[in-house]
Structure formats: C-alpha cells, structure tokens
Symmetry: C2
Subunit: 336 residues, 2 copies
Amino acid sequence: MSTHTNLPLLIAGVGRYLPARIVTSGELEAEHGLAAGWIARYTGVYQRHRVTDESSSYMGAQAAREALDDARMTLADIDLILNASGTPEQSIPDTGVLIQRQLGVHAAGIPAISIHATCMSFLVALDISATLIAAGRYRSILIVSTEVSSAALNVREPENFTLFGDAAAAAVVTAPPQPWNGVLPAIHRARFETYSEGADLAALPGGGTRLHPNNPALRPEHNFFHMDGPGVLRLTRRYGMSFLEQLQSGLSHGLGDIDLVIPHQASRMGLKMLGAFGWPDTKIVRTLDRLGNCIAASIPATLYEAVRQGRLSRGDRVLLVGTGAGISLGGVILTY
Amino acid sequence: MSTHTNLPLLIAGVGRYLPARIVTSGELEAEHGLAAGWIARYTGVYQRHRVTDESSSYMGAQAAREALDDARMTLADIDLILNASGTPEQSIPDTGVLIQRQLGVHAAGIPAISIHATCMSFLVALDISATLIAAGRYRSILIVSTEVSSAALNVREPENFTLFGDAAAAAVVTAPPQPWNGVLPAIHRARFETYSEGADLAALPGGGTRLHPNNPALRPEHNFFHMDGPGVLRLTRRYGMSFLEQLQSGLSHGLGDIDLVIPHQASRMGLKMLGAFGWPDTKIVRTLDRLGNCIAASIPATLYEAVRQGRLSRGDRVLLVGTGAGISLGGVILTY
C-alpha cells in the first residue's frame, strides 16, 4: 500500500441537509428518565436532528442539489453518483440508485454505485474518486453520504441512543482546472486500516442474510446498533499512533503543516483523544454538540461547516480523519 | 465519462465456493406443487446450490483462499480486501470486515471495504481496482463476491424463488509484471449506466432504514426480493444496444475481436437476448443451468469456470457484461 500517491482533486462544491426536527438532550432526558445534563456530559451532544418522514435518498438528494449549485454545475456535468453511507435506505437496489431517482434523472443513465466502509465511507469515496478521475474514467463525481441513524437506535443503550443524529452531506469533486495561488488542490496522502478483531464492538447484526428480518429466531435487539464505546476507544488507542505516523510522519505528536483537522464526530471521548496527539484545539472543527454522530455524514457535514464559515480556504492543507465500525481507521490529507 | 481508458490489470488468481447442498429443480417442483419441468423451461435452471449453515463471509473466505493459492500469493501480499456483493451478511460492519475476520487476519490492518452495485458489483470492483492499482495506491487487491440469495426469496414468486442460487467467487488482481506473449493484461474498456426508472423492477425494500426490521408496519413481503423479469428485460432492450455501442463500436451486432463472453447469468431469457446481438453461442460461457443466478457472484463464478476449463487463456480478449437491479448495465473488456 502506498499512502503517499499524489492525486489532483478539487472539491468543487459542498452541500448539506439537516432534518427540520431538532431533538434536544433535555427532551431526551425527560422522556427517558435520564438525569438532567447527563447526555451532554457523557456524549458531548446538546442536540441532534432526527427525520420525521424524510428518507435517506431524499436527504441525500437535497444535499446533492446544494453541492451542485455550490460548484456551479448541473447533473449534466456529473458522470458518476457515489453513495458513501454507512446505512442503506433498503437492501436492493443500492441507495445510489434511489438518490439518482430523487434527483429526477431517472433516464439519463448516470452510473450510481455505493461504497460502504461505515463511518469512513466518505473518506474512502473521496480517495477512490481521485483515482477514478486521475485514470480519466470519470470527470466529475457526486459523492453523497446520507444517514437515518435514528431508525436503528436502542433506548436501552442511552449512551448510543442519545449520541447519534440524522444528516446528509454531499460533495462534487472534479479534476482541478488550475492551481490556486500556485497550489494544485490534491489528495496528498490517504490511508485506511481495518482490524476485524473489533468487528463486534460496533455492530448491527440484523438487516442482512445471516439474521434475515423474516427469520423467526430474530429478536428486536438484533436490529439495533450496538456499540461498546470503551472497547472502540481501546483499539483506536492501540493502533492510532502508528496509523497517524504512517499517514504523515510526526502527526501523532503535532500537526506539522496541517492547517485544519476535520475529524469524524465519533463521541466526546473520541474527540478528546485527539488532544493527546498535541493538535491545537483551535484547528479542530467540531459539530458533535449540535449534530451528534451522523455516521458517514459526519465528516462531510463538518467539512461543509468549515467551508461555509470561512475556516477553510483554497490552498489550505486539511486532515480528514476518524475511526468507524470494523474497526476501521481512515485518514486523508488534501489541499482544499 | 471515458469508456476507453486503458488500465493494466492482471487477474492473478480465481477461486470459488459452492455450498455442498444441491437443490434440483425436480425437488422444488415436487415441494411447491409446480409442474414437472416447468422450472428449467421457465428459468433455465436445473439445479442450484443453497447454504445449510454457511454464512456469506465463510463462503467468501473459502473462495478467497483458493484465489490466493491460485495466484501463488498469501494474505501478506494483499493490501486491500474489496467485498463486491449485492447482499450483506449484516448491516454493520460491512461484509468486507467479516471476510477479513474469517480469513484469520484480525489484527493485520488490511483495509476492508464494500462496493455495492447489485449484480454488477464485481465488474465495478474490477474497474475500481484497476484505477487504484494504476494510481499506485495498492499493489494487490482481493475481490470477493459472496451471496446467500436463498435468505430473501419468496415462494409466492416461483419464477424468482427457483431462479437464484448461493455461491461465492473471488479474484486476486494485481499490476501485470510483464506482457504475456507481447500482450499486457489490461482493462481496455469499462462502462456502467444506471436507469433508476427501473428502481422498483428488481427490489428488496426491507433491511434498511426506510422499512426497518423493527418497524411494526413491516410485512414479510417487504423483506423478500421481488423482480418483474419482463420489465427488466424491456429496459435492458431499450438501453442495451446503445450501451454496447458505446462500450465498443460494433458490439451490438457482432463480437469483433472478443474471444469469450462471460455474461451475468441473469435468467434464461436474459441469456437468450445475447443471441440478438449476433454473438456466436460457442463464445458465451454459461453456468445458469447448474448454479442459477448468483447475484454478484455469477460473473466471477462463471469466469472461474472458464479459467479452470481452459476456455480462457492468457492474452485472450474477454467481455464481462450484464445487467442488475437499478436497473444498471455494466461491461468490461479486458485482456486476460
């Protein structure tokens, strides 16, 4: 594996969709008999968005439209739709197809594909997009991460039930037409590692062929997402330092030439752990407090906020990084 | 989109796993009150394999081991595991992670990712692998397609219930070390098109966030695969000719320089339609009669048979082609 391949890539536009309904931690505490203030203290989440009747593909299409407008492009410019989500809307066809339908281009033939690497799906899709564009296979790719996490949460695991939020985020990526102030937007480093010794630490055992929904032996718990947060953190600690060193030398004890860090919004403890690497707090973008953990949509939803708030400028060097079920570690260093 | 990018790629090894249990069409006819001979006449399937207690990841790992042996490689040579299946074993983590665990490399860190494009998943994975290898990101990739289709079949749709089979197939792909007899193994053409106007023609509505397994409104039918075969064929006819012409000029009325066709084993009618393109029957490899439609595993399982039976030799020019839910059309032309 070569972490160091340099691949030109322009994030030409970003979009986001948040369900209108906001659920505060105070409401959840009252409803589920939790001590006032416990949720924010434990998870770091003060509020999260939850769908009323929005589907994954509807949310994804809304985010995609904004990303296209932002890039000053239309669907006629897009030659691949990449759904990069941790949860599907339905088993078959894949959510990429359903997003294409929601976008109203039923008969245009734009290929629609899904990439699944749980919370790291957007990062994997970004890296694969850069290689597809570098190879000349596609010119412009629409990446969409959309998550209705609330469908599979277990009220009996309040630390997880209150942690997750629903959201969609999208990015239009293309080959950079020219350098910005002499710097060419590109992915400089990308690295992924999966340790299946942690396969049961964050899992949703149902929904597939092993515990099929019609299986009489199925219990409701099989269809809830279960996470052993401390277990995930333990594995992340075991492999995190060497992962970061292989991504970029020196990264496990300082940011070096990185201008901004956009981490997966895993949890309060997950974000706190970033401090151990000596990364200045002011360079880490956070949405966890207002959006919760939005699975694969967390990184692009946080990237979106960094762009819209002007914290990220063309030519900046950004680290996108996180862990997901697997467990998997992922990191991409790019010039925006 | 450029269909014509030339990407060096060697299929270094192939493997396959078929469940030991064979279910004949005669047995199914007797069991479900169907007229003797109806299944083979309607679907083209005389027998299919069905799992007893094998899981998707177990079958995938067995096929992967054979592909590694065939390539004279070990897991230490593999730097990416790509699960390319239409159905998952469970919702989270993705089946790539579970295959890694079955292979016994829990702590090696090999990244594991899933690509989902229903029956075209293997073709998409092959093309993405070629671009990842060309970019220098990975050296050798293990692609696994594994399907327990029998989990989600509806006895009330006998034309589908009897059509599908369970199987896994794998391929190890890498950069070609040197040309074979002066010909460099490579992908010469690849093209994918998705028409979501057909999203409901082949669908499994359950298993995701929209009709979550714990949803009280859920009916058992939501968790069965439904296919309107004639509807799929109608759309394939509408878009197939122009798709093939864009893949390679002349392909919709003759094979030109193609030595062998490995089609998705969609159905008897699906395979019969290939005759309309003027392709000689002797150049089309078939496994439908003995394996049924094995979703994404059909193409690599048929490729496996062509290799093992000596119908495919180094330097041959092969067309891998088919349609899947979406509906999606996919085609890859490569030198083996």
